[in-house]
């Protein structure tokens, strides 16, 4: 089973995230980049499937030059090779454009499964996996907390608010994973050294056959019109229980339209 894992580099979870003043895209230069946390789970799941049933794991990343650090991390965890889609024309792509570009890049890689994280920690749209499946014409198995690979099929447990659904589909399929699915491994020093020697292909828009006017700020269907800093946290309201605590809580929740 050949698997492609889509991995995104995001600003360090602990760093203060900033948007560029000029075009309101995420500032990726001034902060340390790390692998999107959920994508570590996606890489881990791909490696486990490969270890159990063979095949190759390819990492696919769309992002600026710097994202190569994140690609290396996935390779040092054990992925076999990587494809880096990098082109100034991609800057500012929205979810629709991102899914288009990833689908095009996937056209250059043989695969039976595509595994993604459920969402990124920077832009948090949580729609790329579904959009990608749609573009590829493949089954979408999202919010997986367990994956089982059969002969030409794949079955997942899809996490829901109340429990889980079992969903099965033929391959090729697109899977997105939640963090309950596994415990990602640490890379090892041997893995770090081996990663240096693994194949890394760089694709430009032209290489992937991507039409320039369908990606980037210009090619995106949405625009970020305005942004504002989050208001400072308000002091909480303390409810003292004088026998009527329950009523007071219910009143508060109702006043905030929570119930």
């Amino acid at each position: 089973m050949n698997i492609v894992v889509c991995v995104k580099q995001v600003p360090d979870t602990w760093a203060e995230k900033k948007l560029s003043a000029t075009d309101k895209t995420v500032d990726r230069e001034s902060v340390d980049g790390v692998m999107n946390e959920l994508d570590e789970y996606a890489v881990e799941e791909a490696l486990r499937i490969k270890e159990a049933s063979g095949g190759e794991v390819t990492v696919l990343t769309m992002g600026p030059d710097k994202s190569v650090e994140t690609i290396r991390k996935a390779l040092s965890m054990g992925a076999d090779k990587a494809v880096h889609l990098v082109d100034a024309g991609l800057h500012g792509s929205d979810a629709l454009a991102t899914s288009y570009a990833l689908a095009k890049a996937l056209g250059t890689i043989e695969h039976d499964l595509v595994i993604l994280g459920v969402e990124s920690t920077d832009a948090r749209m949580s729609v790329v996996p579904a959009m990608l499946a749609e573009r590829l014409g493949a089954a979408q198995l999202t919010f997986a907390r367990k994956v089982e690979v059969g002969d030409g099929t794949v079955k997942i447990e899809r996490l829901t608010d109340t429990g889980y659904d079992v969903v099965e589909a033929p391959t090729p399929a697109v899977i997105s994973v939640v963090e309950k699915i596994n415990e990602p491994r640490y890379p090892s020093f041997k893995g770090i050294m081996a990663a240096k020697k693994k194949p890394l292909t760089t694709l430009t828009l032209a290489d992937a056959g991507i039409e320039a006017d369908k990606v980037g700020l210009g090619g995106s269907a949405t625009t970020v019109a305005d942004v504002a800093a989050r208001p400072p946290k308000q002091a909480g309201q303390i409810v003292k229980d004088e026998g009527d605590g329950g009523t007071k809580l219910a009143e508060f929740l109702a006043s905030q339209k929570f119930v």
Binding site: R72, Y186, P187, F189
Partner: protein
């Protein structure tokens, strides 16, 4: 907070990221509880072993990482900021591989090094005895040749990993010759007659067991003699130079953790309506702490780079050990001061940092002994 480091290669950078992740996610959250219980964290050593951190500074030919000291020491520093006892353990383990790696025959290296560096074993280094500390040359445990083995009798003291190690470097007297009377034997932990005693009850680093090893007629095969008979003291002293750099890096890591904790606290804590970080009395304290940490790192790295370049570095290793551990003692003590009364409680880690660093001024040569080494070097006639 991740330290911004100058590193020679991309792999070194990835390695430091790995060390930082391990320190933050696997070491720091467990340290206080293991210290409290005085429990050796075998699982954590397995984890760092699997990550390849127990043989970083040795040749790739035997399964080591082939990394320069400049990189290995910064890994130790990162880990120490999470849990000093684990970083110290890696330093002692690295020391325990040195005699075979540097003085063993090709056959001995091929036989033992792959396992020692492979990550599943932990080693120990038995030089000190109850009466022979700073004056290690006065040790009295004996090894007497008997057929194809040596028979060991006596008591080694203060052995880090005593009782949990898989093998022991045991320095013993093979003759009464003042200069060439000591030899080194590499004993397996399963050797009958090699009996670890209950661990000492210590002020800190309680998750790193320190114990006496009673040698009660322990038979060690003669092919486990490392170097020639009588070469033991020379081996012991040359191994210590690298070990001292290890301690320098560990002390710097703990000092960095104390500085980070104190800085974060001083930015939050308010008195007289202001953040205490805005009082000059506190901010000058923090400034001195930060300067000491930077200077420590620069000094141990400068000695490490001499070692990596193949230059003599003994006096520089002593200077680093002396400076880094004294600086860390000051920095961790001042961190408690910044926290006020809260710093004196176990609710915050700074009191533990202070206790952990104290012993670093004592072991692998007390800081008086380091001054003696540096002073002798200065007094020696250069011709």
């Amino acid at each position: 907070m991740a330290v911004d480091r100058e590193l020679p290669t991309d792999e070194a950078k990835a390695l430091l990221d790995l060390a930082h992740d391990l320190a933050v996610n696997e070491l720091a959250p467990k340290a206080a509880a293991y210290e409290e219980r005085g429990e050796f964290p075998r699982d954590v050593f397995r984890l760092v072993g699997e990550a390849g951190l127990l043989g970083l500074a040795y040749d790739e030919e035997y399964g080591g990482g082939g990394q320069p000291y400049e990189v290995y020491l910064q890994v130790l520093e990162e880990l120490a900021a999470g849990w000093a006892a684990v970083a110290l353990g890696i330093s002692v383990h690295t020391l325990s591989c040195y005699p075979v790696a540097a003085f063993g025959t090709d056959e001995q290296k091929a036989r033992w090094l792959p396992d020692m560096l492979g990550g599943s074993l932990v080693g120990a280094y038995c030089l000190s005895e109850a009466h022979a500390g700073s004056d290690a040359g006065s040790l009295s445990a004996r090894a007497v040749r008997d057929g194809d083995a040596y028979v060991l009798t006596g008591t080694k003291a203060w052995v880090t990993h005593g009782g949990v190690a898989d093998y022991y470097n045991v320095f013993c007297r093979t003759s009464d010759d003042a200069k060439r009377g000591i030899s080194l034997l590499l004993a397996d932990a399963s050797t009958p007659g090699l009996v670890p005693q209950p661990p000492e009850k210590k002020m800190a680093l309680r998750s790193s067991p320190t114990a006496q090893i009673v040698l009660d007629g322990a038979r060690v095969d003669a092919d486990r003699l490392i170097g020639a008979e009588g070469e033991g003291l020379r081996i012991a002293l040359s191994a210590l130079d690298g070990g001292r750099l290890g301690i320098s890096a560990v002390a710097t890591g703990v000092a960095q953790a104390a500085l980070d904790a104190a800085t974060a606290y001083a930015r939050e804590r308010k008195q007289f309506g202001r953040r205490i970080a805005d009082f000059q009395g506190v901010s000058f304290l923090l400034a001195d702490m930060a300067t000491a940490v930077e200077a420590s790192r620069a000094l141990y790295l400068s000695a490490a780079r001499r070692r990596d370049a193949g230059k003599p570095y003994g006096p520089q290793a002593s200077m680093a050990k002396l400076y880094c551990t004294d600086a860390a003692m000051r920095v961790t003590t001042d961190a408690v001061q910044v926290f006020g009364g809260y710093g004196y409680t176990t609710e915050f880690p700074v009191e533990r940092y202070m206790r952990e660093v104290k012993v670093m001024q004592i072991f692998e040569g007390t800081n008086q002994i380091q001054r003696m080494v540096i002073g002798r070097h200065l007094a020696a006639d250069p011709s």
